[in-house]
Amino acid sequence: MRIEVRGISKRFGDFTALDDVTLEVGEGSLTALLGPSGSGKSTLLRIVAGLESPDAGAVLIDGADVTAARPQERGIGFVFQHYAAFTHMSVRENVAFGLRIRKYSRAEVRARVHELLSLVGLTTWAQQLPAQLSGGQRQRMALARALAVEPRVLLLDEPFGALDANVRAELRRWLRRLHDEQGVTTVLVTHDQEEAMEVADSIAVMNAGRIEQVGSPREVYDSPATDFVMGFLGPVSRIAGRLVRPHDVSVSLISSDGAIEAMVTRVVHLGFEVRIELELGSGEPARAQLTRSQTEQLELARGDIVYVRPPQASLEPAASAPLTA
Amino acid sequence: MSVIVLIPLAAVLVNATSQGLGGFWSSVTGGVALTALAVTLGASLVVAAIGAMMGTLVAWVLVRDSFPGRRLVNALIDLPFALPTIVAGLTLIALYGPRSPVGVHLVYTRAAVLVALMFVTLPFVVRSVQPVLIELDREVEEAAASLGASNATTFRRVVLPALRPAILSGAALAFARSVGEFGSLVLLAGKVQIASIVIYADIESDATQSAASLSVVLLAVSLIVLFLLRRWGASGAR
């Protein structure tokens, strides 16, 4: 089930949430809408769902224009950041909700609910109320609930945002596996670039109501279309007028052509790697990432003067990039 | 909704001025009307003030103190809400009337009116202050104590300001309720002139225009209180 948004714009009072956004989501893919708060990613998702209506533009699901359709009519599944669990219904009744609305027979409801509860690993919790579940469990229930009615499209709005870090990591992997098994076209909204990179087939990086780049995780990391994309996908330092990733910075005790003088302000041992915090001659901070052996070889310590250089191969941001996933 | 609320109230206004503004004015200032207004408003202010104080005290004890039967006492606060006002009046006659078991004869005096109004308005301040007191961050008081403030000072400068919007809104509600109170007063007011009773008497004796005029004044007072309440409610903690 393909999703297409064309020329979507949305304003809330004076604030422009989305500015002429166009995007295509391929059938069966898992696409992440990645960006900081206020970038418009949640708004875009909700417009696709029909929970908000755009001021201009169109939403197409499988080629059909659904812009005027209500959420009930779009065949979507939606998962909210704070679960939106029906607090007065048991886990089983929550999952069965969509099926009951569609007047499935009792036997069908029972079978399908059982199937889904096994899928998300909540069978023993079927009779419990959402309040008795942990956050991660509640979100799995929400997913089961959304999948129960076999949606054409699954939309997740920062689904792991309210969870602890380790639960988040676990559910992330679980979601990817689920997607690989079920194959439903999925769009995930997140501000966590690590999450997007780990889970998605394709990432649409958004900023201030616009899409800055669309591409695979590798593409957006290695060939960022704009400074913003580069800076958002990972830490960067500005050295000799270029944006450089810490692991691409060359650190040497000897000066060379194109190198900048810098002073080591901190050496942080992060277990397997070492982060070198630097202050450039201009006063600006920079960061380099080295292996332990490299650090030992250079015998780096606080106060040392070193010479840093961006890598030889150019990592210049490309002037423009295609905007299709 | 308009059928039941707005249109009838508009009719009162129209009737009040049916004999022109002059007629309205003379109805309001003539005879017992003015006295009744003065007495009613005065009593309501007193009741609101005392209620603010005692209500806050009761709320404090209910929230901060604990003793056997506290839940029961807490439930009792709602008694004036649940009890029909006429019964409230009746109980006060029983206690303070001619056959009073404690020998106190207040009935037919202003004191009786005050007591009746205090009964009826008890829950307003208490229930307004209670939730705020419960939500109050004790750490702020502890900080004040650690900085050397005495209990009285802490109460005056830390707790009271936080409670003020709730106390004010409770007192305003108590005032508004007192101004219009009828059921508990009709039996024990006697010679004391109460606005609502005067209105009732006027209606019963077909002096509709006087009744309407006095009503308009009371309505105006009520509306002013309503607006004040919304302003305080908006600026206070909610």
Binding site: G50, L51, R70, Q72, F78, A84, A85, F86, T87, F97, R102, R145, A146, V149 | M1, I4, V5, I7, P8, L9, V12, N15, M54, W60, V61, F67, L76, D78, L79, F81, A82, L83, P84, T85, I86, V87, L90, T91, I93, A94, L95, F119, L122, P123, R127, A145, N151, V159, A176, R177, G180, S196, I199, Y200, I203, T208, S215, L218, S222, R230
Partner: protein
Amino acid sequence: MRVSRRAELSLRAVALLYLAVLLLLPLGVVFARTFEHGFGTAWGWITTPAAISAFWLTVTIAAIAVPLNTIFGIGCALVLVRGKGRGRRLLDTLIDLPFVVSPVIVGLALVLVYGETGWFGNWFLRHGIRIIYAPTGMVLATLFVSLPFVVREVAPVLMEVGDEQEQAAATLGASAWQTFWRVTLPAIRWGVAYGVVLTTARALGEIGAVAVVSSNVAGSTLTLPLLVYQRDSQIGPQAITSAYAAGTELAVMSLIVLLAMTVLAPKGAKTR
């Protein structure tokens, strides 16, 4: 604040004494007076034909007014909290009116509109509908004065619950009615219950507006509160006792309601 033991005890004493004198003492005296001449006499006073019909009239009026105001209240709360549009602030203010308007004024207002010489009175009379001096008017009066309670209890609950569950229901295919019935209503049910109890208490005890609108005829327009008023206004030693008996009957009814209020009250009771 760490209050000294002495201060704590004196505050407690003052508060409890105040409450006892203000609330309990009067009630206690009425109960005592009611049963002064024995339970039989008291029972006799509340089983006279007038008393029995007064009881039923009071209950009937409440039975009509409470459900109507409940439906209205839930609807209003939905409009106020989930709705959009300018009229909401006005609606919000209007709903508070019954809290601040004196009940006799309510009665007067209804007479002026629906009475014989009232604005619409003629129209109704011509169609054989008697409003003023008839139970219908008393229902209207009771509707007015008990209007706000359900709204005011349900609205905060609606706000707290938030509309995400309703959005979720929409994405799962539920229509507006299905969403309301299966998701919204269960979420607010305690607010509704408490509001209903408050409305009932108010409806049972109403006297000011009803006194104006009623013709005080036993059997047709005399409610229990009016009966108490009537009896107390009579002369004779029996009068006050019969009034006490009816008053006690009302008090017992309201104590039952009070019990329900206590059981259902939200923490700290944000009541008005």
